[in-house]
């Protein structure tokens, strides 16, 4: 089965190679990526990083390449639920991995800020990308990154020049739709922050039930010296969707990066965040929430590479699992030999709302330096019955009490979000699964 799926993608590359845009260096990279993909194949559960994840349901679906899918039927009104109310944002919309200019909108931006479709950049000035594209998300050991590198059509290119602050968030909205056959898209994003620049970027992945889609996204971030990035990834695809996303962050000296990952939709979801401190003084926050129900599977892998001294990483992930859903948290922190004065804290807490839900939590810390402060903690538990009783004893019915306590469990992660309209939207998404807790969000 896996072999068939693999060959399908290899064949797709062969037949569409001529249409895949790009200069010679990119064509060479694509060729080498498909070669790696063919050699690696899709990972099986024998692979350490995939042992909790059965890809068979993904490989069974005969996805039609998004290049052939018509992005019709997507109008601005349909995207309204995926925006952030009063929040003013520049917005790039991609439908099935392709830029949709008529749905996109750029606000007035500081001089030199570039927000573009990556396909446009490849057509007009491909040399801009050569020094960065594929340098952070390496395809040599990763089938999904290899597949994306070989087949991507489009995505967002963001460039913030030095000493420039972009006040309003930049919203990248990726919608997947499949009216007839299931479709696959490989969006590819590159975010470059110049020295002492600052930006907020939101990636929303969205779709509509019951459409079956497969998104295989890759985002590369190069955070220049003393730059500040606030990044949000909000995954709201259909409950029938497959979603694999890789985010690779490269942090230069004294840069400060916050990556929020909020995962709600999808039948099978894999969020992989990989960060590297290449120079000293950097700080990183990984702030994640995954919420699953019924038969959803949500995997959350993070890897933080402390390759330089005096960097700080704080990771907080929470999982809320209901029904027969499955979740994985796997966090690896590497502190290399020269990375003295590292501070690394990792916490993963999971709440199981049903006896059939299941989560695997594997915190990991590998320390080769000796002057460091590192710790990690992981818990898996149910709602506190004495808290449920306390609420009920005040007249609140049992279901409402459980919803309130579940919301409270998520609030630690949500409260890390400093932009109020984003926080309110996240509250709404959480509460839409906890209808009896409604009203909680705005009162907090």
């Amino acid at each position: 089965m896996a072999l068939d799926a693999k060959q399908t993608y290899v064949a797709e590359f062969a037949s569409s190679e001529a249409n895949l845009s790009g200069p010679a260096w990119l064509r060479a990279m694509r060729k080498s990526a498909i070669g790696r993909f063919e050699a690696l194949g899709f990972p099986t559960q024998k692979h350490e990083d995939w042992k909790y994840t059965n890809l068979a349901p993904l490989l069974r679906v005969p996805f039609k390449p998004a290049i052939l899918a018509r992005p019709d039927g997507v109008v601005a009104e349909k995207l309204e639920p995926f925006t952030f109310g009063v929040l003013k944002t520049s917005k790039l919309v991609f439908v099935n991995g392709r830029y949709a200019p008529r749905l996109s909108y750029l606000r007035t931006l500081p001089e030199g800020v570039r927000i573009l479709s990556i396909a446009d950049v490849l057509r007009q000035e491909p040399e801009t990308l050569e020094s960065h594209l594929g340098h952070f998300a390496r395809f040599q050991d990763d089938s999904f990154v290899a597949l994306n590198t070989a087949l991507f059509l489009d995505g967002a290119y963001l460039e913030i020049p030095k000493n420039t602050v972009v006040e309003e968030p930049i919203h990248l909205l990726f919608v997947s739709t499949s009216k007839e056959l299931p479709t696959v898209a490989n969006p590819r994003n590159l975010i470059r922050l110049g020295p002492a620049s600052q930006a907020s970027v939101i990636e929303t992945y969205a779709g509509w039930a019951p459409e079956v889609t497969f998104t295989n996204a890759v985002t590369e971030v190069a955070a220049g010296p003393a730059s500040v990035l606030d990044h949000y990834k909000i995954q709201r695809e259909s409950e029938a969707a497959f979603h694999v996303a890789t985010m690779s962050v490269d942090q230069d000296r004294n840069s400060s990066v916050m990556c929020h990952s909020m995962s709600f939709g999808g039948a099978m979801v894999r969020n992989y965040v990989h960060t590297l401190f290449r120079a000293e003084g950097g700080s990183l926050g990984l702030n994640g929430l995954f919420m699953t129900s019924e038969t959803q599977q949500s995997d959350n892998y993070t890897r933080i590479d402390h390759a330089a001294p005096a960097c700080t990483s704080v990771e907080l992930y929470r999982g809320i699992l209901d029904g027969r859903s499955r979740g994985v948290f796997n966090g690896n922190i590497y502190v290399r030999k020269d990375a003295q004065k590292t501070v690394a804290r990792q916490t993963n807490k999971n709440l199981l709302l049903s006896k059939d839900a299941f989560v695997d939590s594997t915190p990991g810390l590998e320390i080769l330096a000796d002057d460091v402060k590192c710790n990690h903690a992981s818990t898996i538990g149910q709602l506190d019955e004495s808290a449920v009783f306390y609420l009920r004893s005040r007249g609140i019915d049992e279901e409402a009490a459980r919803h309130m306590l579940t919301y409270a469990f998520a609030s630690d992660v949500v409260n890390q979000v400093k932009v109020a309209p984003i926080r309110i939207r996240l509250d709404q998404l959480i509460l839409s699964r906890l209808p009896k807790g409604s009203g909680l969000g705005e009162s907090l």
Partner: protein
């Protein structure tokens, strides 16, 4: 208002209450006193509906209705309130939201509309003043990071907002310094009235100096062994529980 007849309760297979009879009329304040392990808290929790307690015999009627058959939330909606000995901390749910949700659940049960937002604010401001509670605490997580005294104040504050018919106060005086004790006692006394009854569970007589009960019952080993008026509590304070234990009839052998 409350009729407890021959109430027997087990916890984890162990018999804790061995046949309690107690009748409380509207407007009365009853105190239950007793040494540690006598079953005081069990009695309070059973009345509030905690499921970890297994009722093996007897009955409890509240305003003629079978209280033991009701879910905890329905007991609250009918007008039963227990101030917890150890209130639970719930970060992420604000005091304000919690209290509004509770108040509206009770109002809905009684066929009333949800409380108007402004009326709610006025209500909690008035009641907070009663207990000298800082208003900022309404925005904080429920009991989150509260001192022992703040938690107890918050229990009485909730009681004042929800205006129950029957209040159970489980060791509400424990952990309070003398100033906080006075505030809490004043709060409780303000709520005394001809239609509201109270059951004050306490180990020490201290609280009863301020909240003077109409009746005092001494609970020993799961049974009420002596009842009297407020003087009984003062005697206990002076002489301890020893004399009652000697005076009390020896437990009968278990019936087959």
């Amino acid at each position: 208002m409350l009729e407890i007849s021959n109430l027997q309760v087990k916890v984890g297979g162990k018999e804790i209450l061995k046949g309690i009879d107690l009748s409380i009329q509207p407007g009365e304040v009853h105190a239950i006193m007793g040494p540690n392990g006598s079953g005081k808290t069990t009695l309070a929790q059973v009345l509030a509906g905690r499921v970890t307690y297994e009722v093996t015999g007897g009955s409890v009627r509240f305003e003629g209705k079978n209280l033991l058959a009701m879910k905890p939330e329905d007991r609250a909606r009918e007008g039963v309130f227990m101030a917890f000995q150890y209130p639970v901390e719930i970060p992420g749910v604000s005091n304000a939201y919690f209290l509004k949700a509770a108040l509206n659940a009770i109002r809905k049960y009684r066929g009333l509309d949800e409380i108007d937002a402004m009326d709610f604010v006025t209500l909690i401001q008035d009641k907070a003043k009663l207990l000298s509670l800082d208003e900022t605490f309404m925005k904080r997580g429920l009991n989150e990071g509260f001192s022992g005294g703040e938690k107890k104040k918050n229990e009485v504050f909730q009681m004042a907002v929800l205006e129950p018919k029957f209040c159970i106060l489980d060791e509400t005086d424990s952990g309070l310094d003398i100033d906080a004790l006075r505030l809490v006692a004043d709060g409780i006394n303000t709520m005394r009235g001809p239609k509201r009854s109270m059951l004050v569970v306490t180990h020490y007589q201290r609280l009863l100096d301020y909240v003077v009960p109409d009746f005092v019952h001494v609970l020993v080993d799961g049974r009420i062994v002596k009842s009297g008026d407020a003087d009984l509590a003062r005697n206990l304070e002076k002489h301890g529980y020893g004399w009652i234990l000697e005076e009390a009839p020896k437990p009968q052998a278990a019936r087959p």
